[in-house]
């Protein structure tokens, strides 16, 4: 298989996986808030918080770099060519807007309900990352669709 074929196959896989990752990420956050963490000092809470943070960082890195970190430079370059970079920029724009809208929403909610800074950060990061992942996945699928 040539580098071009490999890049095409991995790009298709990435376009399929990103929306699923976004859904998994959001579901994981839902379970986080159901089993609410009070002070974060229990080991189980620390594991939960660490898992969320690690997953968030990994998803951000995958989104920012395109993933496939262990493939050759040529394959990675093909997977991150002009169209992908344009799609990524658009995904980050949508992620930023979603985060800002979420922040405005939380500001109003905070007038009626008390919640901690950690919860706010958690919600905003989830909104931003999930929105960007979904948008990137949608744009990549659209780009791969034949004429």
């Amino acid at each position: 298989m040539t580098d071009y074929e490999t890049a095409d196959r991995l790009t298709r896989r990435r376009a399929r996986i990103f929306p699923l990752l976004a859904a998994m990420f959001v579901v994981q956050q839902a379970t986080f808030f159901v089993g609410r963490i009070e002070d974060g000092t229990r080991t189980v809470d620390q594991v939960k918080i660490s898992a969320w943070l690690v997953l968030s960082i990994v998803l951000l890195l995958v989104l920012a770099t395109g993933g496939s970190w262990f493939k050759s430079a040529k394959v990675r370059a093909l997977m991150n060519d002009d169209v992908t970079r344009a799609n990524r920029a658009e995904a980050f724009r949508v992620g930023f807007l979603a985060t800002m809208i979420g922040a405005i929403g939380l500001y109003f909610v905070s007038m009626f309900e008390n919640f901690g800074g950690r919860d706010a950060i958690h919600i905003l990061m989830t909104i931003g990352i999930a929105a960007a992942l979904l948008r990137f996945g949608f744009l990549e699928r659209q780009a791969l669709r034949d004429g």
Partner: protein, 68 residues
């Protein structure tokens, strides 16, 4: 007035008997890039337009034109 970039890439590629993948390999981009340019989803950069023109051995204005 909203202008858009038209192109004859699909026709020119077909005339040469090239698949999207084959043209992509010659231009050294992904098939996805050729697909999006052909379908008008992506407006290529000047560099990419010139690379496509060089590969097809045509002036860039014979491939791309302003519409609207």
């Amino acid at each position: 007035m909203a202008e858009r970039l038209g192109n004859r890439l699909h026709q020119l590629r077909a005339e040469r008997g090239l698949t999207q993948a084959a043209l992509a390999e010659r231009v050294e981009v992904s098939r996805k890039t050729i697909n999006t340019v052909e379908n008008g989803i992506f407006v290529p950069s000047t560099i990419l337009s010139l690379k496509i023109a060089r590969t097809l051995e045509l002036p860039v204005e014979e491939i791309f034109s302003l519409e609207g």
